[in-house]
């Protein structure tokens, strides 16, 4: 579908700008009389600066310096092309009047008709009894009918007075005053509205208005009316400063459904450089009540959020020597089915310094990190944690093989408060860690010139047991057991638990490249961990992992044909001879089409299928869909279907959506529609929330 409709006049070559003050006339026959009147006939062409008249008959009055065009003519001035039944032009005042006119804005591919057009010296056009549209000449899909329209090219704005918008003849909007852009400059104005109906909000219409406040900051104000809840105001500002940028958002609603309780959402993102070496990243988000997104979010990407991060992160980096990070972080828990005891601790602050010597002696470098964190959480054990972590790292890489070994010493001490009586306030832990990794790299080139690589790796980790039963758990947890975890130096993520370990991990990765592009045609990785002893350090109420071989990890990525890829990521348990985790996906991707069929299984957690589809259909239609079905709960959790019809001057997008929206498992079903009359407003972000990200790849 072309970007804009082809208007008739695009065949005539553009007028080359000229500031020649003389009036140039060409005609087959001319007649100049003594009192300065000239009559011209026969393919007459008048040029005055960058304005041009072409007609069959024209007269010029030297005394009045006026051109009169009795016959139908075409007038052009670079911004505007006017075809009129009769016209006259005052050369001194540089104003023109055109009767029975139709016009085209070449730059905007817009056109229209007007009983009378008056043109002033700056090229601003005033149209009486006018119609305006961006549709192709023979199509009247939509047009703006107005008592008068003023086209101001300097401002790039069209202003219509008592305007009526007709869509296929049906009036869909009446506005006493209506402004629309006539060039591509960022301009204050309406964005396209979104209409909808959903079980959580009832009738739901959003009409975003864009404010171009300055070249480096702008805002979008979106009044949103929901029949069941009332009027919500959303304000969203963006700013770009010399060395920082950010976004601020605020939404507020007096919710009729909750007897006019004020519900608000505040959001801030700021990233910047305080100095060349000191970066800052600030995030803040806050909702007035946990069910905010469940009721008002309107999409599963919002309603599925469980925690909102509030953090200020400062990073100082002295090039090639050390990095200091300071973090002040808190989370707002907005999943109403979570207990306060599960709330994440607040880190007020976390200070961390990482350093490593620049060059190595005998391939060995000395490095270390020191971290202080103050963990805060109401009516819980709180504490300050100091962690010292010096290490010696030896790394030697000869392409054919590489060796990496590391010896660490970990010293961690806690100053605790709020512990039960009898438990000590001060806990510390000290233990060494040793790991050694050894890898080989093999390759060969197949007859077809494709490079194949084979890379086995072995990893040994030894960490002695240190009782950590009375160490609190502030930021430790059990990560997914996947390929990256095979080579991790701690069974847990976070610092509060360092698992004892005496284990071997082995993995092999095979890859085959496409001879020309070097893109990986197929790759497979297999790995496994073998524990010589059962780890004794455990998280509270965590089952003990067993000795011996752990689950197999397998990842296969296979590009069947040019556009098809198969991806398999599994974890197979030898004892239960069953998969504990499986993720399988088949993807078809081309320039404009995307199809994915996926199956995901995690033991005791989820078993779901996922279907994504985005494809153009025939004649301007395109289809978009996503369906997430939970096999375990035998229930469709999220279904989204969207159809978009687009022509060169208008588009309509509708979407149906049904997804589990709140912790009680209730569904929100919504239908949304957006009409886009191209050129009449700007495309705001309105469309994106119709088709949530992640679907349109």
């Amino acid at each position: 579908v072309e970007a804009a409709c082809v208007q008739l006049d695009e065949t005539i070559p553009q007028i080359e700008p000229s500031d020649d003050p003389r009036l140039l006339l060409d005609a087959d026959r001319v007649d100049l009389d003594v009192d300065g009147r000239s009559e011209l006939e026969g393919s007459v062409r008048l040029r005055f600066g960058d304005r041009e008249f072409t007609t069959e008959k024209l007269s010029y009055d030297e005394r009045e310096r006026r051109v009169e065009v009795g016959a139908p003519s075409v007038f052009r001035n670079g911004d505007l092309t006017i075809r009129s039944q009769s016209a006259d032009f005052d050369l001194d005042a540089e104003t023109g009047r055109f009767d029975g006119a139709s016009f085209v804005l070449p730059e905007r591919a817009a056109r229209g008709e007007s009983g009378r057009i008056e043109l002033d010296a700056e090229g601003t056009a005033r149209l009486d009894a006018a119609r305006y549209t961006t549709c192709a000449p023979q199509s009247d899909a939509w047009y703006l009918e107005a008592g008068s329209i003023r086209l101001d090219h300097d401002e790039g704005l069209g202003t219509a007075r008592n305007a009526r918008l007709r869509f296929f003849g049906v009036p869909i909007l009446y506005a006493p005053w209506f402004q629309f852009p006539i060039d591509d400059r960022r301009r204050t104005g309406l964005l396209f509205p979104t209409f909808g109906e959903s079980s959580k909000t009832g009738f739901d219409v959003r009409q975003p208005v864009y404010f171009n406040l300055a070249p480096n900051y702008d805002a979008t104000l979106t009044p949103r009316y929901m029949s069941e809840r009332g009027l919500q105001l959303d304000a969203d500002g963006r700013y770009l400063l010399r060395r920082s940028e950010g976004r601020v958002g605020y939404e507020v609603l007096e919710d009729r459904e909750l007897d006019d309780e004020t519900r608000a959402y505040t959001e801030l993102e700021h990233r910047g450089l305080l100095t060349r070496q000191l970066g800052v990243d600030i995030r803040y988000a806050d909702v007035s009540d946990p069910a905010y997104f469940e009721d008002l979010g309107g999409s599963i990407d919002l309603s599925s959020i469980t925690h909102l991060e509030r953090s200020a992160r400062f990073t100082y980096n002295a090039p090639a020597s050390y990095t200091v990070q300071a973090l002040f972080q808190d989370y707002q828990t907005i999943a109403s089915n979570l207990e306060p005891v599960d709330d994440p601790y607040r880190r007020l602050p976390q200070l961390r310094i990482d350093a490593i010597t620049r060059n190595a002696i005998l391939d060995t470098r000395l490095g270390g990190s020191a971290e202080y964190v103050n963990f805060v959480r109401s009516d819980s054990i709180e504490g300050q944690r100091f962690d010292l972590h010096p290490y010696l790292r030896m790394e030697k890489d000869r392409v054919a093989w590489f060796v990496k070994s590391q010896l660490d010493f970990r010293y961690t001490t806690y100053e605790l408060t709020g512990t039960e009586p009898g438990r000590n306030q001060q806990v510390d832990r000290a233990l060494p860690q040793f790991s050694a990794e050894y890898g080989l790299r093999f390759e060969r080139v197949t007859r077809s010139g494709a490079l194949q690589t084979l890379e086995p790796r072995l990893f040994y980790l030894y960490i002695p047991y240190e009782n950590q039963d009375d160490v609190p758990v502030f930021d430790s947890g059990e990560p997914d057991f996947d390929l990256t975890q095979l080579f991790a130096r701690n069974r847990f993520s976070g610092e509060d638990r360092i698992s004892d370990a005496n284990q071997f991990a082995g993995a092999v990765t095979v890859r085959q490249l496409d001879p020309d592009s070097g893109v990986v045609r197929a790759s497979a990785s297999f790995g496994q961990l073998f524990r010589f002893q059962t780890p004794r350090v455990r998280l509270p109420d965590e089952p003990a992992p067993d000795r011996g071989a752990t689950d197999f990890i397998g990842i296969v990525d296979y590009r069947l044909l040019d556009n098809w890829t198969l991806r398999l990521d599994t974890q197979w348990s030898p004892e239960s001879a069953d998969f504990t985790r499986t993720s399988a996906a088949v993807r078809f991707r081309t320039e404009r089409r995307y199809l994915e069929v996926a199956y995901r299984f995690r033991e005791d957690l989820l078993e779901q299928t996922d279907l994504l589809l985005s494809t153009p259909l025939a004649a301007g239609f395109s289809l978009l869909g996503r369906w997430r079905y939970s096999v375990r709960d035998d229930n469709s959790l999220d279904a989204l279907a969207g159809v978009r019809y687009e022509t060169c001057c208008w588009a309509v997008a509708t979407s149906y959506r049904r997804y589990v929206a709140d912790t009680q498992g209730r569904f929100n079903t919504g239908v949304y529609l957006q009409l886009e009359l191209k050129g009449l407003a700007r495309l705001g972000s309105g469309v994106s929330n119709l088709f949530p990200a992640g679907v349109v790849e």
Partner: protein, 163 residues
């Protein structure tokens, strides 16, 4: 079976002397992608410079974006699985002439989410992001190698001394 120890294939000529230029506004720390790319190039014998100069190829990395999408949702409507998506644009040029790209790479990794372990999952996410960028550096170099120079005919395996 025809496999032999790697290391016999020289780097294509443009990658012998190279400067890695990362365009990442507001980033003060070197992204793992750049660190990994620099390490791979250096071990392959490349001279990785600190700034650009005539005759030095420039690997420009831009639009390095890391996003997180909700992948699976539980019956309570809350996220059960996240997908980390990392994408980057890259191109190689020397003395104003484009040698490879502009091209892009997009890698993803999924991980489960437990609402009770937000801080632990945050640490896991950081570790996965670093892993993705390291893998991205390897894939990028494999592409650049084949685009920038036809694979040299593989000579007989040089005797490699493995400790």
């Amino acid at each position: 079976c025809g496999f032999h120890l790697a290391g016999t294939r020289p780097l294509p000529e443009p990658l012998q002397r190279v400067y890695i230029n990362v365009i990442a506004p507001y980033q003060v720390v070197q992204p793992p992608l750049e660190t990994a790319l620099r390490a791979i190039l250096q071990r392959r014998g490349a001279d990785v410079r600190g700034e650009t100069a005539p005759g030095t190829a420039v690997i420009r990395l831009s639009e390095l974006e890391e996003t997180r999408e909700v992948l699976s949702v539980g019956i309570d409507g809350k996220a059960l699985e996240f997908r980390l998506v990392t994408s980057v644009q890259y191109q190689v040029f020397r003395d104003g002439r484009m040698l490879a790209g502009p091209d892009s790479l997009r890698l993803t990794r999924d991980y489960s989410f437990q609402p009770e372990q937000v801080l632990a999952k945050e640490a896991e996410e950081a570790r996965l992001r670093a892993f993705i960028q390291t893998e991205m550096a390897e894939l990028m170099l494999l592409r650049l190698e084949s685009q920038l120079g036809k694979l040299a005919a593989v000579s007989t395996p040089a005797p490699a001394s493995a400790p």
